[in-house]
């Protein structure tokens, strides 16, 4: 085929352009460390990269949720421990009172227990950063209050009248947060969160304070009535004391439950942290190019480009006219 000057120049220029474009691409890769800058360059990897990024942002949100729940739980545990200690002190005093023989002693004990009872009420209305902890979903007003008849009320309902079946809503009252367990609704499409798919971060005070006639606050009042009765009936007082001690043990059981909740949150925290490490590794595999690979590519391409430039200077200059005498 007859080769003309125009076609030689044109083809040389085209080759030089494509070399330059490749050099540009490799230098971009070296500078940014990214394998590709848009989906058109590598659609399949790009889609995977976007999925990994989504999963990572989701993971960060869950971790934040878990850590917020943990701090709240720690505060609740501390308060409840204090309440348990308080009930033990009250128990000591009651035992003294039940065994004591002098009325004067019993008066003194009643006065002391009064104070402790008030403290117990304060603890039951404990707060964590401006929110009441033990009122279920009610976090804006104190859950345990005294109404006009001086009866203990929980969220407006008289505690002594609360029945587990009739007031089931009070016990089911809960708020759930998503910590990455696959939030589901039961039945599907309704507003009821499936308890196994989320973490319940509210505590119903009735669970550890007791309800109906077994409420520990009411039992303290009952015990005080027993002690102040005359004549003093040790057998009846002993029965009430038994019920008080059962209620106190119930409180300890609830405290243990909080402990296992804490373990559950720890477990999830570790799981989420490991998941994040995996995701970071995946992201690097998809999106990031190793510096040594990028630099090698660039160096090679630079060499090719320089060779093309040198050759061009020889190719384009000489014609037959240079050799005619």
């Amino acid at each position: 085929m007859r080769v003309t000057n125009v076609s030689v120049t044109r083809n040389y220029l085209t080759g030089l352009h494509s070399n330059r474009a490749l050099l540009n691409k490799y230098s971009n890769q070296t500078i940014t460390g990214q394998r590709f800058t848009n989906l058109a360059e590598d659609p399949a990897s790009g889609v995977r990269a976007l999925q990994v990024r989504r999963a990572m942002s989701r993971n960060a949100t869950y971790q934040e949720n878990v850590s917020a729940a943990k701090s709240q739980l720690a505060s609740a545990e501390t308060t409840m421990k204090q309440a348990v200690t308080l009930t033990h002190s009250i128990n000591e005093l009651f035992i003294q009172g039940a065994n004591g023989t002098y009325e004067g002693d019993r008066e003194a004990i009643i006065t002391q227990v009064d104070k402790l009872q008030q403290e117990l009420l304060t603890l039951a209305n404990g707060k964590f950063s401006d929110k009441y902890m033990f009122g279920g979903t009610n976090t804006t007003s104190p859950p345990f209050t005294l109404d006009n008849d001086n009866d203990l009320c929980y969220n407006g309902y008289k505690v002594k009248d609360i029945d587990a079946n009739a007031n089931a809503a009070l016990f089911d009252d809960a708020n759930y947060i998503d910590i990455g367990l696959g939030l589901k609704f039961n039945p599907a499409g309704s507003q009821n969160v499936d308890p196994n798919s989320a973490y319940k971060n509210t505590i119903v005070g009735l669970d550890f304070m007791g309800h109906g006639s077994e409420n520990i606050y009411l039992l303290i009042s009952d015990m005080q009535d027993m002690l102040s009765a005359s004549p003093f009936d040790p057998e009846a007082a002993g029965k009430v004391l038994d019920r008080f001690q059962t209620a106190s043990n119930k409180m300890i059981t609830e405290l243990t439950k909080l402990g296992s909740d804490d373990n559950f949150l720890d477990f999830n925290k570790n799981r989420l942290e490991e998941e994040k490490l995996n995701l970071v590794e995946r992201q690097e595999a998809i999106e990031i190019i190793e510096p040594d690979e990028a630099i090698m590519n660039w160096k090679m391409q630079e060499y090719v480009y320089n060779a093309a430039l040198q050759m061009g200077s020889r190719l384009l200059q000489s014609t037959l006219f240079d050799y005619i005498r």
């Binding site: 085929m1 007859r2 080769v3 003309t4 000057n5 125009v6 076609s7 044109r10 083809n11 085209t14 990214q34 590709f36 800058t37 848009n38 989906l39 058109a40 360059e41 659609p43 790009g46 889609v47 990269a49 976007l50 999925q51 989504r54 942002s57 989701r58 960060a60 949100t61 934040e64 949720n65 729940a69 929110k131 009122g135 279920g136 979903t137 009610n138 976090t139 804006t140 007003s141 969220n155 407006g156 007031n167 809503a169 009070l170 009252d173 708020n175 759930y176 947060i177 998503d178 939030l183 609704f185 507003q191 009821n192 969160v193 989320a198 971060n201 014609t319 037959l320 006219f321 005619i324």
Partner: protein, 569 residues
């Protein structure tokens, strides 16, 4: 027959003049090495014989004393292969179409592609994250405000993306108009003018090489824009003179039989005009050149290749949304409509979840109708649905948070416990002193407690699979996409990425093919400087030899005239 004495001088003279002509042509070729479209020229010379002289006393055969009469310069001709021209122009129209499409689709990258830039997907993820945090403490007014701000930013970035896409569409329409005016119509006019001039020259016997080169160059440029066919018909001027009449037609092979639209015929030309229709699409019409008379009002569908088709596909193409007779390429309107579908489904889902429903009616098997609408998102006028057609009036360009939500951050429904559940789970209202607020009959008043179950439902909807349904050009509903909103955005971006990558690969391939044609064409028509150098040396030697021959003849004749018959003087 005796040869005339001075006939040989005539032979020498003819040789010298042909050699001069050759040198001139070499000079012309060399000076035009880099001229675009220049076809190399070459001298045509024939040898003159002395046959054709019939004379009574002529001797033929071995005793014939007469040699030839020299060389005759027969004109300068071009060397060009019209078959290669046709092949080149065919491929050029494919190249032109792909070039326009690749650059148009690449422009959308900065708006839709989120690998290197943060766009709608990132804002959506932020909104979901804020909602998840709000679900933990659904009575926190600060978090409610944060959610509202996040939603507002989300709608703003959707608006911005929609506006940017519209800008790109408008730019492409503008480019089409400019391209038709400056590149296509001006070229057609010039070709028609050259046709007239070349015809005149041909009638006068002049091959008009330079004008033909210019015309070929213009036709090559034109071929990038549409699928054209060049037709040369011989036209008889008189008994002796026949010239070639050139016309250019645009061919559409998709109809049967193929339709042809005349663009240039001799000195007459037609122009193309683009007009914007009411629905935003563009149509092309064929107008008589120099006047405003419309020959064909709508030839938009007759463009099968070329840059004009590229523009039409980018401006009119709406992909899956195309109805009958509409353009089904995934052009810019496809992405506009996809973003609209996204905004509509997003708004409808959030509005439905936020509205109060009549749960008891659902429990007894009745339909779950909104008890009353509490819309979070609306179009700019505060509406969501056109009351006449029932269709959503929300688009990506006009979606905003509703006025009610803008005024009150608590417009967000945090809990949707059924009314009977709400009866039981209430708390009494207290005033600042801690006393119960009583109503006129002395009863305590209650407010609903604030759980975050509805917020969790919203998060679940936004991270779960939704049906994005849309209406196509025929008015039929179809399911555009099923998946999470984030997957929708990724799907849109990857569709554009795949289309772009395909177009640019085809463009590279087409470029290589065209390069091959151009090389082959050049190998026939272009000037090679080395070859001209050799020609130059040849013609120079030729000239020297002819001059030497003339000197020899001169000496020979001089001998006869001066030296013969001087003996005995």
């Amino acid at each position: 027959m005796v040869r005339p004495t001075f006939a040989s001088f005539e032979v020498a003279r003819s040789a010298i003049s042909v050699a001069q002509m050759g040198l001139n042509t070499v000079g012309h070729n060399i000076s035009n090495v880099n001229t675009a479209g220049y076809t190399r020229q070459r001298v045509d010379q024939v040898s003159l014989s002395n046959s054709g002289i019939n004379s009574k006393y002529r001797i033929y055969g071995a005793n014939n004393q007469n040699a030839g009469q020299g060389a005759l310069f027969n004109g300068i001709s071009q060397i060009r292969d019209t078959y290669l021209d046709t092949r080149y122009r065919n491929e050029a129209s494919t190249y032109g179409e792909l070039s326009v499409k690749t650059s148009g689709l690449t422009e959308l990258q900065s708006i839709i592609d989120e690998i290197s830039t943060d766009g709608i997907g990132v804002k959506l993820a932020e909104l979901i994250s804020d909602l998840t945090k709000f679900a933990q403490s659904a009575d926190d007014v600060e978090l409610a405000t944060v959610v509202r701000n996040s939603a507002k930013q989300f709608t703003q970035i959707v608006n911005k993306s929609a506006n940017e896409i519209q800008t790109i569409l408008d730019t492409q329409k503008n480019d089409l108009t400019i391209s038709l005016e400056n590149d296509v119509n001006a070229t057609l006019e010039q070709i028609a003018y050259l046709n007239e001039k070349i015809r005149e020259q041909h009638i006068n016997g002049d091959p008009a090489n330079e004008l033909m080169d210019s015309r070929n160059l213009l036709i090559d440029q034109l071929s990038e824009f549409a699928n054209i066919k060049v037709v040369n018909t011989p036209e008889k001027i008189s008994d002796d003179i026949t010239v070639s009449r050139l016309s250019i037609v645009m061919v559409d092979n998709t109809t049967a039989p193929a339709s042809e639209f005349t663009l240039v015929d001799n000195k007459n030309y037609n122009t193309l005009k683009s007009t914007e229709n009411a629905d935003g699409t563009v149509s092309i019409s064929l107008v008589e050149g120099g006047t405003d008379a419309v020959l064909k009002p709508d030839i938009t569908d007759n463009f099968s290749k070329g840059a004009i088709k590229g523009y039409i596909d980018l401006i009119n193409g709406c992909g899956n949304y195309a109805g009958d007779g509409e353009n089904s390429f995934r052009g810019i309107p496809y992405y506009q409509k996809a973003l609209d579908t996204f905004a509509q489904t997003f708004a409808a889902t959030m509005n439905r979840l936020n509205s109060i429903t009549n749960e008891e009616s659902a429990a007894t098997g009745g339909e779950l109708k909104p008890f009353y609408d509490k819309n979070l998102f609306a179009d700019g006028d505060g509406n969501t649905v056109d009351p006449l057609t029932g269709k959503s009036t929300i688009t990506a360009a006009n979606i905003t948070i509703s006025d009610m939500w803008g005024k009150e951050a608590w417009y967000l429904t945090t809990s949707k416990l059924s009314s009977s559940q709400q009866e039981d789970a209430r708390e009494p209202v207290k005033d600042d002193n801690g006393n119960y607020v009583l109503d006129t009959e002395g009863n305590k008043t209650y407010v609903n407690q604030l759980t975050g179950d509805n917020i969790n439902a919203m998060v679940k909807a936004l991270t779960g699979s939704l049906n994005f349904s849309a209406t196509n050009g025929n008015g039929d509903k179809f399911n555009f996409f099923t998946g999470t909103p984030e997957e929708f955005l990724t799907n849109m971006a990857s569709t554009r990425g795949l289309d772009t990558s395909l177009c640019s690969t085809l463009l590279k391939a087409s470029g290589t093919v065209i390069s091959g044609y151009v090389d082959t064409r050049d190998s026939i028509s272009a000037v090679s400087v080395d070859e001209e150098a050799i020609n130059m040396m040849t013609y120079q030697n030729y000239y020297n030899a002819a001059a030497r021959y003339m000197t020899t003849l001169d000496e020979a004749l001089g001998t006869i005239i001066q030296s013969m018959g001087v003996v005995g003087r």
